[in-house]
Symmetry: C2
Subunit: 131 residues, 2 copies
């Protein structure tokens, strides 16, 4: 006997993330699913997103006033534009990943499970507008 249940709400919310790869907030997800499923509760969205990230099925990103959610669970990092707040995924190549791993092993005071890297600056479009 399994103590979790497969519900329509969980499927809807998970699918929403799969179809909206823009790092939406819980509020964003609620607004999207609300269009097609107007009686889904906001608390359900928060709870399901929270549970999914606990289970490692999605990632919770905490570099903003409200948390954002990412269906991409492969190791990657983020760039945030200071002007338009756009978020761009940053993947490291093999060489960089190796460097990062080596670096993490140089610490004796702690063991590292997760690494979050956020780059901030101006995206291409906003650089143009700045001139």
């Amino acid at each position: 006997m399994n103590n979790t249940r497969e519900t329509l709400q969980k499927k809807i919310i998970f699918d929403c993330l799969k179809n909206n790869k823009v790092h939406p907030t819980a509020e964003d997800v609620y607004n999207i699913v609300h269009k097609d499923y107007p009686n889904i509760s906001k608390a359900t969205v928060y709870r399901v997103l929270s549970k999914l990230s606990e289970n490692g099925q999605i990632r919770k990103l905490d570099f903003d006033t409200s948390s954002r959610f990412d269906d991409e669970i492969a190791p990657h990092y983020h760039f945030v534009c200071k002007r338009c707040n756009k978020i761009i995924d940053v993947f490291l190549n093999e060489e960089r990943l190796t460097q990062l791993d080596e670096f993490k092993q140089t610490f004796n005071d702690f063991s590292i499970d997760d690494t979050e890297i956020v780059f901030k600056g101006l995206c291409k479009d906003c650089q143009k507008k700045e001139n």
Copy 2:
């Protein structure tokens, strides 16, 4: 003519950060300064900390449910213990800083001003307790 004023409150709050290098939240700072200056307002603490970080005099850290503030403005990164929530400063040596700079220059889609890195795992003490 300067449109900002040097107030006792600003000095008290800035000094508080200098004397409490534990990455306190705004609430923490309020509680500390409140002991010696009971009529300082919580809104003032929030406003002054926000202004100081805008001016680059302190750093605002956003890896928690509430923002934390750091008087150390030299480039450095952070480790957060998942168990006891302790925060440890992580400084990169010259070699690593150079690697990071090189990496940042490989992007054509954006320019990078700031880089925030948060490592998460277990600190030495909590690793022991885990066994």
